[in-house]
């Protein structure tokens, strides 16, 4: 077996390039620093749009845009209703990396898979641990245990022997985020414990299984950032030390798996770390549905819940994080915008959003994308019509019940699209600006 044809990916959910670069320079992450001085580069990378884990990880695993893979967020509305549904792995329309190299694509196809057809083997084994949006676990050629959201470890793990093993080590699927505000110490403790369990599981499967592609994901970073990102750089923050301590443990893990993998492949395997989006401190949360209500674009029926509240005559609504849907006739039961009026509504919303300022006069929205700029493929008909990206500090929310346009909460970090990261060997040929959809192709090249 040619050991150069082995790939190890360490996913670090929500780890920003800027923060890793600072932590490496400051000595908080000495292992990362050592790797970077030994022929690897830390790149800033664009996440998918919207920059939410379900969409971005799906873009990573399939190497195609949401218009092909079909995942636009953690929630969707069921066709021709305002009822919410939660897309999961079964909703993904494009084959994942492990399908393409493992011969399990079935009827799924994608531009990426077509491009590598016949060029990569179809009998390679993959180990995939804790990758978001992989529940329920598919029967792949290898081992998979699903990441967020995984409501059931048994159904989220393939094969059953892997489930039995994970149960035996009291594996932690996800930490209890609700502890973050009232029991912060317990929250940090559990995050460290979960990190240890991930490392234990990674080591077990690395050693006990035969594999060609290994993808292990740590999601605790994202949780820490949501509640404590303000502690990342503020040295006087009560939880700065605990935050940094977690990153030093993360760094241990990076160093440990780098060495282990290099030893196993004689230094010839492809090692990579990456994240699905970046993070920035929150200045304000921005509830666009409220803005739409105030501007007469949306009416709500308070007797109902969630998106079923959308009332008569509504022209548009927003779902997390900045997905804007025009309430089109024929697309929704209460559709109130005729196809001929769509452009006018779209233009009205774009100028409304670009003009939006907070109380201190700061521009809230960085850019509003139209669907055609972002999405192409068979699933693009289901896409949001517009996606609003906030300036750093303005977290765009789809909550439908807020009484004001701007607010704050116990959340301290927001996702950013432009500050995801990727660590790769310096020799790998890359586009000028790296995008998360590029990584699958870089991985597949290795198997040719």
């Amino acid at each position: 077996m040619d050991s150069s044809k082995k790939v190890f990916v360490l996913g670090i959910d929500g780890a920003p390039q800027t923060l890793l670069s600072e932590y490496a320079a400051e000595g908080i992450m000495p292992n990362l620093k050592k790797i970077l001085s030994g022929g690897y580069s830390l790149h800033q990378m664009d996440a998918s749009i919207p920059d939410v884990s379900s969409t971005s990880w799906t873009s990573f695993m399939t190497g195609v845009n949401p218009g092909e893979h079909g995942i636009y967020g953690f929630m969707e509305l069921l066709p021709n209703t305002y009822r919410m549904a939660f897309p999961n792995y079964a909703s993904i329309k494009a084959p994942a990396l492990w399908d393409i190299i493992g011969g399990t694509s079935g009827a799924k196809s994608s531009t990426l898979a077509d491009g590598f057809k016949g060029r990569v083997p179809n009998s390679l084994r993959s180990i995939v641990i804790n990758m978001p949006e992989t529940f329920p676990a598919p029967a792949l050629n290898g081992v998979l245990t699903a990441g967020f959201v995984c409501p059931d470890l048994k159904k989220g793990t393939y094969p059953d022997s892997a489930y039995q093993y994970l149960r035996s080590i009291n594996y932690i699927m996800d930490i209890e985020a609700s502890n973050a505000s009232d029991k912060p110490d317990a929250f940090f403790d559990e995050a460290l414990l979960a990190l240890n369990k991930r490392a234990e599981a990674f080591t077990h499967f690395m050693d006990k299984e035969r594999w060609d592609l290994f993808i292990g994901v740590v999601t605790e970073t994202d949780r820490l950032h949501h509640f404590f990102f303000d502690a990342a750089r503020e040295k006087t923050h009560k939880y700065h030390e605990r935050f940094v301590f977690f990153y030093s443990k993360m760094d241990d893990m990076i160093g440990r798996f780098f060495e282990r993998f290099m030893d196993a492949t004689g230094g010839r395997g492809l090692f990579m770390t990456m994240s699905d989006h970046g993070f920035a401190p929150i200045r304000k949360e921005v509830y666009l549905n409220r803005l739409f209500v105030e501007k007469g674009l949306l009416t709500l029926d308070a007797a109902r819940e969630y998106f079923e509240q959308i009332g008569q005559g509504s022209k548009a609504f927003v779902m997390d994080p900045g997905r804007i849907y025009i309430n089109l006739e024929g697309r929704y039961p209460g559709g109130a915008v005729a196809a001929s009026e769509k452009n006018a509504v779209v233009n009205e919303i774009i100028s409304l959003l670009l003009d939006l300022k907070d109380s201190e006069g700061r521009a809230v929205i960085k850019r509003v994308f139209e669907a055609a700029e972002l999405y192409s493929g068979t699933e693009s008909g289901r896409s949001p019509d517009l996606v609003a990206i906030g300036n750093d500090g303005f977290d765009i929310k789809g909550n439908i019940k807020k009484p004001e346009v701007f607010g704050t909460s116990h959340f301290r970090g927001m996702h950013t699209r432009h500050d995801a990261h990727c660590v790769l060997p310096s020799g790998v040929a890359l586009p000028e600006r790296l995008h998360i959809e590029n990584l699958a192709g870089i991985i597949l090249e290795r198997f040719i």
Partner: protein, 267 residues
Amino acid sequence: MDHLTALENKSIFIIREAYYRFRNIAMLWSVGKDSTTLLWLVRKAFFGEVPFPVIHIDTTYKFPEMYRFRDEYAKKWGLNLIVGRNEGQVEAGMGPGKGTKLDCCNELKTNALKQIIEKNGFKALLLGIRRDEHGIRAKERVFSPRDENFKWDYEDQPAELWDQYKSTAAEDNHFRVHPILHMTELDIWKYIRRENIPLTELYLSKNGKRYRSIGCAPCCSPIDSNASNVDEIIAELESSHTSERAGRAQDKEDAYTMQKLRSLGYM
């Protein structure tokens, strides 16, 4: 002693024990097959009488067949029937179309029951749950203490080895008593056949479909089945491997997903 008689004896012992220990008790009757079997056992335990109130939690979303059956047999068996409704929430329009299913169950079932317990000061409630219904119920005890907030601390409960039941509790607690915990779905049907216990027709096949488990109409879906009498249901169960509550799994996953997403600020 045959299997069904042994099960019956055990249930009757538990029912009498609970009544003897607590006196101020009641039973929950959902009008489904399990609690109707429990009601039958209570009548046997006290020679045709039911010496305590029978509570039906009415979410207002039950099947019409269930209301008909409840009223008919409450009269026929001379029950002291308490119908519990969370009126405030019913009037406010709580229902499966509003909020999550978890919110709906919580308001219309759990809180309705809380109100009744508070009002009547019941010390124990008899419930027709069975150990084989769901994973979490395998941890249940026959005498299961609850705190004032209805919380069940499954990591801290009496062991019940050799059928030794613990039936004393702190002042604020009440007990859930589970006289048919040891029966399986198949045991219930065989006992229903032996005793000829009346049930609503929802369990019997109509146009190729029947309900295997009944509750609120909007949240129950029938299964494909041609079993149109109890014998055929028993034959079907003996050859089936799907779980009784299979149709409810999706709801559970969705409720978990929502809670998780909410905790990270989505929705």
